[in-house]
């Protein structure tokens, strides 16, 4: 009989189900799974998730990030699919800056840029946060739509953003690139999750 050696890391993430015997609760497969996490290096402004499995229905990106960009309180966090640098992205956003609520839109962009992150002028230890949901990312008949919420609060100033974005392409999403001006700090963490239907 062949034996398989399990890596310690796989054992750490194992979920135990006690019994499939009649009378016990039905086994419900998990529907929200961690795919990959990338931590900023302080020397790159680009984070890419490649070879995204097509086994989920939706994707979620959870971002805690900061840029090293000097002279700015905040800067862009841009999202691009499958390395497409064409003018194929559209976005809308609703913004609250502590004083007023405003809305704006962009068309024919080379990326989706709806949620900024903190930059070097922000006080130490303050990070931008965002959640992106990418719907039906494996469809080959629909353009891809996202929704996002995020921003940062800096104890006296702050901005909250609610955004939507559209990639005018019906290809299945297999890679995601997030990039910012200058570099992501080493305290940056961007995690990709898959949600089953």
């Amino acid at each position: 009989m062949a034996t398989t050696s399990l890596a310690r890391s796989s054992l750490k993430t194992l979920t135990k189900y006690d019994s499939f015997l009649v009378g016990n609760s039905a086994y419900v497969p998990p529907s929200f799974e961690s795919i990959a996490t990338i931590v900023g290096t302080g020397a790159s402004g680009t984070i890419t998730f490649n070879s995204i499995p097509s086994t989920y229905t939706h994707l979620q990106i959870r971002v805690l990030a900061r840029s090293t960009l000097a002279g700015n309180i905040s800067t862009n966090l841009s999202l691009r699919f499958n390395g497409d640098t064409g003018s194929n992205y559209v976005s809308h956003r609703l913004v609250g800056d502590g004083t007023s609520a405003t809305a704006n839109a962009s068309t024919a962009q080379s990326n989706i840029n709806v949620i900024p992150i903190s930059a070097a002028l922000t006080a130490a230890n303050i990070m931008g946060a965002a959640i992106y949901d990418i719907l039906d990312y494996t469809s080959t008949t629909k353009n891809k739509v996202i929704k996002a919420i995020g921003g940062d609060d800096q104890n006296g100033t702050g901005e909250l953003y609610i955004g939507s974005g559209l990639w005018l392409n019906t290809a299945a999403v297999t890679s995601l690139t997030l990039f910012t001006s200058s570099f992501f700090t080493t305290t940056t963490t961007i995690a990709l999750y898959g949600i089953r239907g």
């Binding site: 959870r62 502590g98 609520a101 303050i126 999750y193």
Partner: protein, 167 residues
């Protein structure tokens, strides 16, 4: 793939109370999510959250609110808690809905949260999104959800704490 999004604890009030507190939160997750359905027994109050029982002026938040007539934004700093929004007594069976995403709660940076407060009263209501900051680097091990002026929440008010673990 690593399995995540696990329930850590749920509290359902069996008697009226002005707070629900999660203690001894394990540091084994990456982010936390809180889901609350709540009301107040009478009148109104502000529904708030506080970490590690820190009552200092170490909290701030920025909001974006729509109330059916207009959209507004406010900012609060040097506060003793992060407010979700006002919470109002409603007709029986109607509840307010609050969620909170708490990022890197065991990390070494200040703690950032994204909150939502949803309330519809069949004729009036509001939706409020906010981003909050606890200016402390300590790992969060206790979360207190409470009505700021101590108005009671009724029996059946429920709060669930989830953990999300990144690969």
């Amino acid at each position: 793939m690593a399995i995540t999004y696990e329930p850590i604890a749920t509290t359902t009030l069996g008697s009226t109370a002005n707070n629900i507190t999660f203690n001894s939160i394990p540091a084994t997750y990456t982010d936390l999510i809180i889901v609350v359905t709540a009301s107040v027994s009478s009148g109104n109050d502000t529904f708030s959250m506080r970490f590690n029982n820190d009552t200092g002026s170490n909290y701030s938040f920025t909001t974006l609110n729509g109330n059916g007539a207009s959209a507004t934004s406010t900012i609060r700093n040097a506060r003793t808690a992060i407010d979700f929004d006002d919470i109002t007594s409603m007709a029986a069976g109607n509840l307010s809905f609050f969620t909170s995403d708490i990022f890197s709660y065991a990390g070494s940076t200040y703690k950032t949260v994204l909150n939502t407060a949803s309330q519809d009263r069949n004729g009036s209501g509001s939706i409020e999104k906010s981003i909050g900051l606890w200016s402390a680097t300590a790992a969060i091990n206790t979360i207190k959800l409470f009505t700021y002026a101590s108005v009671s929440m009724p029996i059946g008010t429920t709060a669930t704490l989830y953990g999300i673990k990144a690969a």
